[in-house]
Structures are given as C-alpha cells and as structure tokens.
C-alpha cells in the first residue's frame, strides 16, 4: 500500500461524548421513560402527539442512536445469531450459502455475528462464543462436543444448530449426507462401464471431514462388484495435479470421482494436457455443481447436493428459538443427484 498525503484541511473535530436517552430527555424536557416509550412505539402507553414530536425532534438533533448492549442487557436476551467461521477454507458454494443465510436471518430481525475462532478449539471456543450470549449458534462442521453444546445452552442460547456430516448430541442437526455423494458418483461411473476407479482425496488439512464419508460411500457402492477403487491424494495446485496425471499409466484408471468440481477441473486439465481423452480414456465426475463446470470442455458431470436455502435454515433457527423446549431435530439435507454432462 502507498500512503497518499492527505490534502483535506483539519483532523476530525473533537469527540463529543455519545448522546444517551437521558440527553434526549433533557433536550425534549421530558423523562427518560417517555423517551423510551416514544422511540419504541410502546403501544401499552399513550403519549400525546406534541410530546412525541418534541422527542423525535430532540433525538434527531442530537443524532441519538440507542445502545444495543444496554438494551439487551436490560431485556435479558439478544437477537444475535452466532456463526463461527469454519476452521477450513471452504468452497464458494458455502460462501454463497452463508450469504443467503445472513440475508434471511436479517429479514427475521436477527443480527448475524461471525466469529473468527482463531486458535480456540472445541469447548474453549464454545466458552468464548457464550460471552456474546447469542440466542442461537450455527456451528459449521464438527469441532464442538456435547459439553460445548451444554455450555452454550447454559449461557442462554435457545438453539444450537450444527451443520455438517455428523450428528451432535443435544443440538439440532442439518445432516449433510456426504456418504451418499460418494455413493452416487461412483455408482454412476460403475453403471457406465468403468471398472478401475479412482477417488481424489484432497491433501488440504481439514477436508477429511468431508472426504472420509465420501470415500466410505464410494466403497459401499462397489461392494460385491468386480470394480476397484484407488485413493488419489491431490493438493490444490497445478504441480500436484501434473504429478498425479503422470502416474496414469501405472494406475490405469478409467474413471475418477474428483471430490468436487474444483479438484475435478484441476485434474481434468492436467490429464488433458497429458493427452488423455475425456471421457473416452478416463471419465471424470465432480461434485457441488458449480457454474464453472458448465464452462469446461467437455462439460463436467457432477453430483449436486440439494443444499437447503438460507431461508429454510433461517426458519429452522427461528422455530427453535421460539420453542427451545422441543427435542433436537435432525434433518437430512435433501437427496443428492448426479448431473450427467459430457465428462463421464
């Protein structure tokens, strides 16, 4: 970065102290209670029109903004939904989802707080989260034990929702069925006549939570058949892909499930650069159904997971908040399905 000398005249004006409702009351010539009634449109109390006007006028004049912390301290609860940042760098599919979710929760009048849990893990993290007294916590992936859930509940969280491949005792669960994804992908390859199959296993740490169940599903799909399955470790960079492609003669693989569309693109590129014809020599299928896949040549086959919309999850959270006594529900995210294009 290059700093540019600032030409504007003076520095910021002296910080006047932050106006409170008492200041508004003083200026309007009423009590703090009245200010509160007027600004919150309290229906239980009727305030005369002239008074309302004076209060509003005073508030505007002072640039008064209520203090959320004070309010929620008094109220005894917040509208904060805590959304810890996932430990692993996840794909664009997830970013998209989070963005949706945030919008949907906002529309239900919740405030989404992203918490970058740098360093902390498991139940330590839960304690840090609990300090914010969130009304709900949405935990992506694992990394929280039953004890962590208890801490959050004890600190007033009315809903804890976990989002990932594993169930979590005491919490609502949105179970992403990664096992089924692996099963679908490999079954697709098998049905199309492939016998020597490969499955990409990302080397990036943290992704095992997803890759392990996908691998398990893949194995299950081949049980009792004459097809074989080889694990193909792959880091997300070109050299790694080239190295893998170079091993193709030795491996003699005719079909690959590439973990997701991004790894699929990487691998497909390396194979093609090495003279492999896709899908004739080797079929490739990804997962996640990114826009990307349609732009590749051949167009990339993929497994799409019917991920819930942000609105759906937001409503689940809202229901759980309204009825915290209800037993934790487990939802299985809707079926996955193969999207067959040209690469397989």
């Amino acid at each position: 970065m290059v700093q540019i000398p600032n030409t504007s005249a003076a520095s910021t004006p002296a910080q006047r102290s932050v106006p409170t409702s008492a200041d508004v009351a003083r200026l309007a010539g009423v009590s703090r209670a009245t200010v509160s009634y007027v600004l919150n449109n309290t229906s239980a109390v009727r305030i005369s029109e002239p008074t309302r006007r004076r209060v509003h006028q005073a508030a505007k004049e002072l640039g008064y903004v209520p203090h959320a912390a004070a309010r929620s301290l008094r109220a005894g609860h917040s509208r904060i939904v805590l959304l810890p940042a996932p430990a692993v760098p996840v794909g664009s599919l997830y970013s998209q989802f989070i963005s949706d979710l945030q919008g949907a929760l906002g529309r239900l009048d919740y405030t989404v707080v992203h918490y970058g849990t740098a360093g902390l893990r498991g139940d330590d993290a839960a304690r840090a989260w609990a300090e914010l007294r969130p009304v709900a916590v949405i935990v992506p992936g694992p990394g929280l034990g039953a004890e962590g859930v208890a801490v959050l509940k004890r600190s007033g969280a009315r809903a804890v929702v976990t989002l990932g491949p594993e169930r979590l005792e005491g919490a609502h669960t949105l179970l992403m069925d990664h096992e089924a994804i692996g099963h679908r992908a490999v079954e697709h390859l098998r049905v199309r006549g492939r016998r020597r199959l490969g499955i990409v296993v990302p080397e990036e740490p943290g992704l095992e939570i997803f890759s392990r169940p996908r691998l398990a599903g893949a194995r299950r799909a081949l049980r009792g058949t004459d097809a074989t399955l080889t694990e193909l470790p792959l880091a997300y960079d070109e050299e790694s892909a080239a190295r893998l492609a170079a091993r193709r003669r030795e491996l003699r693989i005719d079909g690959v499930f590439a973990f997701n569309d991004e790894y699929a693109m990487l691998l497909m590129r390396a194979l093609q650069d090495d003279g492999v014809r896709i899908p004739e020599d080797t079929a490739v299928i990804g997962a996640d159904d990114l826009t990307l896949g349609r732009l590749l040549r051949p167009r990339l086959s993929t497994v799409r997971l019917e991920v819930p919309s942000g609105r759906e999850l937001a409503e689940l959270v809202d229901r759980a908040v309204r009825d915290p006594g209800a037993a934790p529900e487990t939802y299985r995210v809707l079926d996955s399905a193969v999207v067959h294009r040209e690469s397989s």
Copy 2:
C-alpha cells in the same frame, strides 16, 4: 429437507438460569469484586492464593461465562469491528480477503461482526450499525455518505475505513485503483497490435462502481490513438455470452478486456464454441488473477491488483483505533500489473 424422527430419549433438561458473577461469589463465599479481580487477573490488586482457587473452582462448577454486553457497557467501549456485507455479490477474491481480514483482526483481539444490511441504505444503515457501538467500521464499496460517517463517529466509532474505488470524506480510505486496471488492460492490448477493442460491461446491477472507472481508464489509454473501443454489455450466464459471441462478425473486434477473469472465462468459452481462435482472431484479457485463469486453455492473461493482505488492513484499523485523532489517511492499493499468459 427431510426430518428424521429423533430416537434420543428426552428433550433438553430444564433451563437453569444463567449464572452470574454474583452466583460465583456466593458459592465461593467472597464478594463480586473479588470474583472480578480473580477472573480478570487484575494486577493492581493481590488476592490470596486460596481465595483464587475457591473462585476458580466455583466458576468452573457453575459453568460461569462473563457477559460481554455487560462488560462493554461498563467499560464504555467494545472491541467490535463492524463489517457490513457488501450490497453486491462480489467475487471469490473478496471472500478470500474477508476471511483473511477476519483472522487477522481476531488475532488482535477484535470481534468481527458481519452485518447483513438487508434493505437499509446509506445513512439509515449507518444508524443501524451504530447501535452496536463498534470501535471500528469497515465499509466495502460506496453506499455511505459523509453524514453516515459522522453518525458512526458520534456513536463512538474510533475508526471508519472505506474500501473501494471512491474516497470518502472523514474516513480512512483504501483506494482501489480500478481506473488503472482498465488502463493497463487496454494498453496491453493496444501495444500488442490490437486496434478494434471491446470492453465487457457487466449487466449485473451494482457492479457499475467497478466497471465505470475501469471503462474510464480504458478510454484514457486509447486517447490520441487510432484504436476504437466498444462497450459490450454481458450478463453472467451462458445465453448472454452466446448472444454476444454471435455478434462478432458485425462487431469485428480483435481484442477484449473482459472486466474480470470470471466474465473472461464465460466469454472465451462462447467465442471458442463459435470457432473463434484465441488469441489469433481475438485476444482476451481478464482481471483479478484467479487460479481459474491458469487452468483455462489458452491460459488467461489478466490484470492483477496488488490487494492488501488482511493483516495489513487489520493493522491499519488497529492504528486508527489507537489514535483516533489522526487525520484520515488515504492509501492507494499497490500498483496493478498485467500478467501476460496465452490469451492475448
């Protein structure tokens, strides 16, 4: 989503009320003050070791977690850095950056709050943000006026940083030089002998803030030359790209700056599907230097913007918070540079 009947025994146990420091004090047989001293390791006061132990023991036993809102109410300030979600769906480059930034701020002990500003705009939004009494606000893109900055400052924000193509009075600015990007890209095409140039202008609303300065820079690069520049409206979907590609004979364009790598990929695909050779018939250059571009064939030329690291911005914020009196600084993000690959 499909709900799965829950087999686990009972619903959650009755909510015991949230333990406070008073509860800890009572259990430990000391005063609340002592609890506070012990748990915060206050160095100004010496507490006997047995007492410390009793307090810690009691806190653990009750599962006590301090209340962040109460603390910051008392303290008169928070460690919240507010990061409003950008109004426009931005690319993966930005998501990456945000993620970095969040980590870096977390390491400096700030809490990042993402605020989905659904519906609100400009100074209304600023008022909503001010309710959280953030110590700093990082505003992506425009959408905030000088009045909004004033509201935030008045409510106690010690630093307001804006991040985008435009300067903002009263706020620190990280000025992204989009004009230079357009200039660099088009200059590159011109120097390589292209004369009938095109520039992609995304039809997606909200992207004008970026596309306008890029267009201006492109025009500037051609001033006084014999080259021409045609605006090419393009929506981010395949039909739109196909339609644009179909007009190529009429347009007779031999070089395109495609706004960014994602639009470039889309357009390149459509052109290639239509039999256009790249770069022989038409050169294409993108921007943002996504990993994506290296995987295309031909490899995509691009303009890279030396975007600051999350750590750098976090430190800028931290400096501004420590010294709020300082005049707003404007940083120009480091030079952009053409990354010449095969598509141009």
